[in-house]
Each structure stands twice: as C-alpha cells, then as structure tokens.
Amino acid sequence: MKGMTIIVKTISSWVKVLIFLFGIYIIIFGHLTPGGGFAGGVILASSYVLLMLAYGREFAEKNLSLPVASKLDCLGAFLFALIAILGLVLGGSFFVNFLYQKYLPGQALNLISAGTIPLSNIAIGLKVGASLFLVILSLSICCKDFRPDMSANKEE
C-alpha cells in the first residue's frame, strides 16, 4: 500500500504526535471528564492509522509490528485481570475498589482519586488501542490477495 504526497507526509508526522497525546489525556482523565478507556484507546489507534494512510502500510508495520501489537493487547488484558484479582486478594471480592477504600482515597475531583478506576482506564485504553490497530492492519494485508484473482478471472 503506497503512501501519499510529501505535503500530507510532513503535516501528518507533526499531527500524529498531537493525536497520540490527546488520546493519552482522554484515557488518564477518564474519571473526571467524558471519555475513559475505550474512547481514548480508539484515538490512540487512529493516530497509528493516520501513520498507515500517509506513509504506507509497510512503514506502519515496521513501526509497530504485528507480534508486538498482539503482545501489548494481551498485556492490557492481563493488567485488567490483575486489578480484578488484587481486588479479591486485598478487598474480599472481585473488582472491589481497594485503593479508594483503604490505601489512597485522594480528594474528589483531583487527578489522583477514585481508586482503581484510572488504572482500569489505562489498561483498557492500551488494549483497545493495540487491538484496533491490529484489526486494521490485518484487514489491509488482505488487499494483496484479490488482485491476482480478479485479473485471472478477467483474462479467462
């Protein structure tokens, strides 16, 4: 998959960093403003999709390859499961907000508050970002397959 013109490449190399940063902001402040894990993860994935559209699929694949994205995906799911199990160990029931109740209550409406919710948001954001990027990358690999089939059908 080829990239686009030089103007698009230059501008997108500046803009993608801003998009990535915006995605991280939405994830981390998810307990105070609208957004949270899923929406922030989608924005993170879209910064990589911008990279893929502007520079071509091979460049994006070298930047964040399929096995690495797969492992990041699993890491995100593990972190989430770890938070749930720590709730069982430290609090007595799955998903108990043990940080809020015992260790670190924090003050309402600050960044550090609401216990384990920001940590869950980060885990979900990581997982969703990695897996959406993986989906779009895998779907674009299939592009190569139909050209030979279609031209073979037309020649017959």
Binding site: K71, L88, V96
Partner: protein, 513 residues
C-alpha cells in the same frame, strides 16, 4: 441458605469466568514455537473447570461483584439450573479440547483456535451464571462472536459461506435481545433479574413488556435453532471443525438458547398459557421437521445437524409442557416430571451429540470425505470409532440401558399423565424416525464393503480415542442420574425446582444475600 461444599469453603463464582478468560489471553503469547505448551495449558484449564464444576454441585450462592449490593451492582447467581448446565459445559469442553489436540494439527494458527475456544467457554459460563439481564447479553455476545469466528476457521469456500450466514442471523438475533433489554429497562427501571421479576409481578404486563417478551422469544429461539429460525444450523454445524461442531451442537445452542429462554420466561416474566402453548408448538414443529429433513441427507455431519434440531425440539417440548401445566394451575407433580424429562434430555443430548460429532470428525480425518455414499465397511479399519458411534447412536435412538431411553420414557409418561396423548404419539413417532436415520448412518459408514480408495484408512490417535471413550462411558452411566435417588436429588431436582418455582426466584435471591 448458607453456601457450603464438600471442601468446606465456597468457590467465588467469578472464577468460572476468570479462568478461561485469563487463559484465552495468555495463549497468544506462546506464538508459533510454543504450540505444545499452549495446548497443555488449554487442556489444564478445561480440566480444572471440570473439577470446579463438580465441586460446586450442591451449592447455591449469590456473589456480588465489587461488594455493591443488589439493585445497584452486578451479581452472579449459582442455583440448581446453573450448576447442571455448568457441569454439562465443562464435560463437553474438556472432551472437545482433548480431541482437538490432535485433530487441529490439520489447520494452521492453532494458538488462535485455542484462545477463541476459551473465549467461547468464558461466554457460556458467564451466560449461565449471570443474574443481571444486560450481563447476560454481554456474555451471549462474547460466546456468539467467538463461535462465528470458529465456524469459519478453515477459510475454505463452504466454511466462509456458512459463517457469513450464521453471523448475519446471529447478529440480528442479538440485536433483538438488546432491544428487549432496552424495553425492559424502560418499563421497569432496573436491570437485575430478581428486581425486574418483582416489578412485573406487582404491575403486570403492559404492551411494552409484552413486545419485549416476543423479542426475547424470537432472539433466543434463533440462537437455539427452533424451527421457524433454524436456517443457519444445517450450514454452520457441518462446516465447522469437528470439535467445534461438538461444542456448538452440544452446549452452545442449549446455553445461549434454551437456558436463556427458560430463565427469562419462567423466572422473570412468569409462564402464562399462551407462552406455554407457543413453546409446545415450536418444540413439536422442530421435532418433526428436523427428523423428516434429516432422513434424506447424504452428508454425515449435515444429518447430525438436522438431528440436533429435532432433539432440541424434545427439550423445549418438555419444558413447555411443564410450563403449560403450571400456568393452568394443574398438578405440580406432573409439571415437575415433564420439566425433569426436558432437562435430563438436555444433558443427555449434550453428551451423546458431542460424541457423535467427535466420531464423525475421526471418520472425516481418516477418509477425507463426509459423503456417506463414498464410505462403507469402515468397521474393521476404525474399531474404536465404530464402537463409540454405536453407543452414541443407541443412546440417541433410545435403546434401554443407555441414557436416551430414560429421558424419552420420562417425557412420554409425563405427556400421557397430563392427558396430552397426541403429544406422546408424536414423541414415539419421531423416535422411530431417529432410529431410521441412525441405522442409515451405521449401514452406509461402517457396514458394507470397503471401497478401493479407503484401504489405507487408519484408526484415530490416542488423545482422540481417550476423549471419545470418556464420553461413551458417560453415555452408559448417565442413566444412573435418574435411577439412583441420591444423585437425582442432588443434581437434577434442584434444577427442576428452579423452573417450577418460577417467580419465587426473585424472593430467593433477595433473601439470600
């Protein structure tokens, strides 16, 4: 009721959902090189789920997630019906996983197969344990999406077509279920099944709730492949790899379809006369249509898929008959007997239909074809496969010492006792049709002459044989579940009691915390 087990400690219920989920995300890390390690881990996970399910047999428990009390938070509920189905799911998934150790060597990407399989088990365990109607929908979707991907796993022509058809119909069914959940929330203001039931009992059914009940019957009926909505099953089950066919036909259509339907109709809405007649009608149509369409099939797995439709008709007929008797205010003992027949047939069918699909997978692996006209005389080449297939066929037809006989007998006795003589006659007639179709399987596949190109067929490998023999032994022993009174009162009677108690589910849950 305080929870207690033989071990003295109570098992936290999210373990049944967390173990397969964590395994599913651990498996892709192994990648290409660690395939055998991944397989060992997956088998360990299914066997441990089986142990946990057996250990939780007498319990009934309400587990509140995050310690949020019931109308505010999500809860998981384990009662008699849930533990019966957990047992069925874990038995079939352990056997299918053991079978797929050797069978899936034919396909590439085995690690992804294993993790999709574990996701499907997670979804099914979650549906059975959930006490909250939106949570039921979420786990239903997890199991469905994993099964859509597994049906098309080989990426050949037929498998992709079957997977697309299954996916479109399954998605429409799930959207109907979500619409029903939205209507229920709008009319009652709560998502917890116990609280919804309490609200419906005090305020009665209005137009919105009636429409929601209709949407649930259509949505769950499509997942269970009852007759007006069965069009996806004869394409999806043959095209899937054999252990996945065993899981789909053995437990998925029962958990996502029959369990969810009976939970919503009996415990949340309350059974009424029209709903009971509707269930009986759908059950009878499924039995008859499935049996007639199966006799003319020449593809081995397609015949077994149509026979699944027919047998699910038995289950829904038993449950509907019991429900109708309860709704009319008739004798509770007759209703309990009918529901016992239906639920026992559900568990039996899970075991023997999955065994039939596993034997067909073994036949397919040795002969590379599914056409029965091209097979014959495989009895001497595949002796263990032939023996287990005969045991399973005898069970499904209903020959005396095997388990199928007892469940069909209970259904016939219940129908005759409740003065539904024509229903009993149809049950016996469809059993005769089942006999014809399985005699056809035995004659064309195992007896007769061995054609030239199949002289090289070999018996299946060890792990596949162990899985098949395990299920065959269960087929023989399951008759004891009804005959031995202590087993029946521990395992089957609590499940029947949940459905016959009906609307008292809500008071039980609220008092149990």
């Amino acid at each position: 009721m305080s929870p207690s087990t033989t071990l003295g400690t109570s098992i936290p219920l999210p373990v049944f959902v967390a173990v397969p989920l964590v395994t599913a995300f651990l498996l892709p890390i192994f990648g290409r090189k660690g395939k055998s390690g991944a397989t060992v881990l997956a088998n360990l996970a299914t066997v441990s789920l089986l142990v946990l399910a057996v250990a939780s047999i007498g319990q009934s428990d309400v587990y509140e997630i995050g310690k949020w009390s019931i109308p505010l938070g999500i809860n998981l509920v384990l009662d008699g019906l849930s533990s019966l189905l957990l047992l069925a799911i874990s038995v079939v998934s352990a056997a299918a996983m053991l079978f797929s150790v050797r069978y899936m060597e034919q396909y590439t990407a085995k690690a992804k197969y294993l993790s999709l399989f574990m996701l499907m088990v997670t979804g099914m365990n979650g549906v059975v344990l959930s006490g909250d109607i939106f949570n039921l929908f979420v786990f239903l979707e997890i199991a469905s999406i994993a099964s859509y991907a597994l049906v098309g796993f080989g990426c050949e022509h037929e498998e992709l077509e079957a997977s697309f058809k299954y996916m479109v119909l399954g998605s429409i069914a799930s959207i109907f279920v979500l619409f029903g959940v939205a209507l229920i929330y709008g009319n009652t203001g709560s998502l917890n099944m116990a609280y919804i039931s309490k609200t419906i009992q005090s305020s009665g059914l209005n137009a919105g709730l009636g429409f929601a009940l209709a949407l649930f019957i259509v949505g769950f009926g499509l997942k269970a492949a009852l007759v007006p909505f069965h069009a996806w099953l004869p394409d999806a089950h043959p095209s899937a790899p054999a252990p996945i066919s065993a899981m789909l036909s053995g437990v998925l259509i029962k958990t996502l379809g029959v369990y969810a339907l009976s939970r919503v109709v009996f415990n949340v809405f309350g059974i009424s006369i029209s709903t009971g007649w509707l269930l009986i009608a759908m059950g009878l149509l499924s039995m008859v249509a499935g049996a007639f369409l199966a006799i003319g099939q020449w593809d081995l797995k397609r015949l077994m898929a149509y026979s699944s439709i027919s047998q699910i008709g038995y289950v829904v007929l038993g449950i509907g008959l019991g429900g109708l008797i309860i709704a009319r205010g008739g004798n509770l003992a007759w209703a309990s007997l009918a529901i016992l027949g239906g639920l026992f047939h559900l568990v039996n069918h899970a075991v023997y239909k999955s065994l039939l699909f596993l034997t067909s997978g073994s036949v397919e692996m040795s002969t590379n074809t599914r056409e029965m006209r091209q097979m014959g005389g495989l009895a001497e080449k595949l002796p263990v496969t032939r023996a287990t297939c005969t045991v399973a066929s005898a069970s499904i037809v209903g020959i005396p010492p095997f388990s199928g006989f007892w469940s069909k007998l209970i259904l016939v006795v219940a129908a005759v006792q409740a003065h539904f003589y024509w229903v009993a006659a149809i049950i016996v007639f469809v059993s005769l049709c089942t006999l014809i179709m399985y005699l056809k399987v035995q004659r064309y596949v195992f007896l007769g002459e061995l054609p030239e190109n199949l002289q090289q067929s070999k018996e299946a490998k060890n792990s596949m044989l162990v899985a098949m023999i395990f299920l065959a032994c269960l087929c023989v022993l399951m008759g004891l579940l009804v005959l031995v009174p202590s087993l029946r009162s521990h395992i089957l009677d609590p499940a029947v009691k949940v459905l016959t108690d009906g609307l008292e589910y809500s008071t039980n849950i609220i008092n149990m915390r």
